[in-house]
Symmetry: C2
DNA sequence: CTGAAAGCGCTAACAC
DNA sequence: GTGTTAGCGCTTTCAG
């Protein structure tokens, strides 16, 4: 690996001249010198060492990205968008960490980022407690969280970008209601986060609007263990069992996200129930997987690309010094993608002579 | 951020003493001094700056991980295992990059890694051409590739860790044959990689064993565009169409991977075909998603965790100087997970009086 | 316009 | 045993 010294020697100039061309201060430079330096750079295949540069400038073109588990397709999706945009727009690379929803792992990730000179982080946490994020900000980091802030009143030190989860759940729930469902359930996993509680509020709001608040319940599976997202099948089975044996079995289910909906489908099927004949199901996220499930999942599409870009922009634009221009940006999901997992509730279907054509053999 | 100087001052010792305790050279040190230094470190919340350290040592505890797209659940799965193991076992963080199967993006990722002082990389590439990897090795990197090497004869500069794709495909194909299938197809995407061609060889080998070589064809969809993996639904539809209109329609299909199998299921369903009644399907990978599909997918489970660990171990253990102790480690997948996507072929099913009970309405 | 020189925070000889 | 010191590769005043 050649150094700036080598280039300087090769071009017969001083290192600072080379440094100047490296940093674009070429305006007041003799053409010929510039050309010589550039030639030397090419000849020696010189690439400035980011590390040495950062030691001096205190900036390293690295973005931290913290996710519960990159094996979860939703986080994989977000991560891809974040990485691509950070790279193309800002020339940043991303340093990723799985936290398995563990407080300590999150904290340790921040420590390492700091040690690596990384000062910009995007956090997708399932932890309601944001104090460790605030602490990171105090230590000079710019942190952007993918969720609403917990305390809308207080000034937070961390930026927030999130989908309008309240609205997403409301849209999903209304869709079920529009199809005639009156016994509703919201399926989620143990552990409360802002996003989950907002979704539940949206679910309840839609139920209340329709005078169905009494018939809208929340069922909870899990929790997701350290293996997290691959265990979704079991959680779905759990939940399916819960719902099937409920005295007044719900007919329309809003799942906290697409993966849960997929797990639920599997669980329901194991219990001998068919979607949408016996139960209707709507998800939220809009994963590409929802399009190829059987039945294809009706879901609320979140604007993932836009949110990812907004997070990167926030992380890059803000100055770490001031905790001032911190904000919250909420993206409203507007698109409900209708596919096959929602139909009329069983009773209505029967009355209309559509359902129970094929009995469970 | 406090520095080693601050700590030295606080503990009233010299920086080298502090450096010594930081690097575990505490054996020939007075208890009391050690205690004082440690106290100072805690008091000042001192964390050594990795960058400065690396500038000196030429080593940075970062592992590069290059994947076609982290949104692909299989790569997400591998990435999670790699990250977790690298972190827990070696204290390394991982720097990730999506290459979208693009030669230039891969090259540019390597450039950046080099500039960041990263010298160890795990590459999951869909590019058959390995020259850019060799070049990276020449520049002092340790690179481990997730695939067989292209030229088993020649000495390669890059390490290889891979599943036994030949065997995996053979197991999958034999399973179909054992169920009575005689018209076989292998479903893949455009673009040839070592892993794909090995799978095809395994497929053909199993067919030949059973004297079915004549009835074993390869169908190809795609290619995966830059959005890659989210487009799998369309590819599946394509392929389904191809197979349905083939003059002698295959009854047993081996999919190049689970995602392809899932896409194919959706495509087949759209064409009015039912799995496994009309067609049997087996995947390879063992994604958690295969367990919750409908029907649940029969698949060959790859030892992902073991392979991820082997890759990390290789990347960490090898010395960058010598391109000598390079090797190839092939993991044999032994487990076929039987689920619901394989049944007898339609003709046999009819003869046995099991199938076509419910006609396509 | 270009060069010399002082560090950024840490490590590792080499002295004492 | 502990302190001094010379860099790692680069940026950035500050002279010339």
């Amino acid at each position: 690996m050649s150094t700036i010294q080598d280039v300087a020697r090769h071009a017969a100039v001083s290192v600072s001249t080379v440094s100047n061309v490296l940093n674009g201060r070429t305006d007041k430079m003799r053409q010929e010198t510039l050309a010589r330096v550039e030639a030397a750079i090419v000849a020696l295949q010189f690439r400035p060492n980011t590390l040495a540069r950062q030691l001096k400038t205190g900036q390293t073109p690295l973005l931290g990205l913290l996710v519960p588990s990159i094996a979860n397709p939703m986080y994989g999706y977000i991560a891809r968008e974040v990485e691509t945009f950070a790279q193309e727009q800002y020339g940043y690379r991303v340093l990723i960490g799985n936290t398995y929803r563990d407080q300590e792992k999150e904290a340790s990730f921040f420590e390492d980022l700091l040690a690596h000179g990384v000062r910009r982080v995007i956090v997708i946490s399932s932890l309601a407690d944001e104090r460790h994020l605030e602490r990171a900000v105090q230590r000079g980091m710019v942190v952007v969280s993918y969720d609403r802030r917990a305390t809308p009143g207080e000034t937070s030190e961390v930026d927030h970008v999130a989908p309008d989860n309240f609205e997403a759940a409301r849209i999903a729930t209304r869709h079920l209601i529009a199809h005639g469902h009156t016994r509703l359930a919201f399926a989620t996993v143990a552990g409360m986060t802002m996003s989950r509680s907002n979704k539940i509020r949206g679910f309840h709001a839609a139920a209340s609007e329709a005078g169905l608040r009494e018939h809208a319940c929340v069922v909870e599976g899990g929790p997701l263990n350290e293996y997290g997202d691959s265990v979704i099948g079991e959680v779905g089975r759990d939940l399916a069992r819960q719902m099937v044996k409920a005295e007044a079995r719900p007919t329309g289910i809003v799942a906290v996200n697409d993966l849960m909906a997929l797990g639920l489908m599997a669980g329901l099927r194991e219990m001998g129930l068919s979607v949408p004949r016996d139960m209707s199901l709507v998800g939220m996220d809009g994963l590409f997987l929802s399009a190829i499930s059987n039945p294809a999942l009706t879901t609320v599409q979140l604007p993932v690309t836009e949110m990812a870009r907004a997070m990167v922009d926030r992380a890059m634009t803000r100055q770490s010094e001031s905790g001032k221009d911190v904000g919250e940006r909420v993206f409203t999901p507007t698109v409900l993608i209708e596919r096959e997992s929602v139909g009329p509730p069983p009773a209505i279907a029967q009355a209309a002579g559509t359902g129970s054509r094929k009995a469970n053999t």
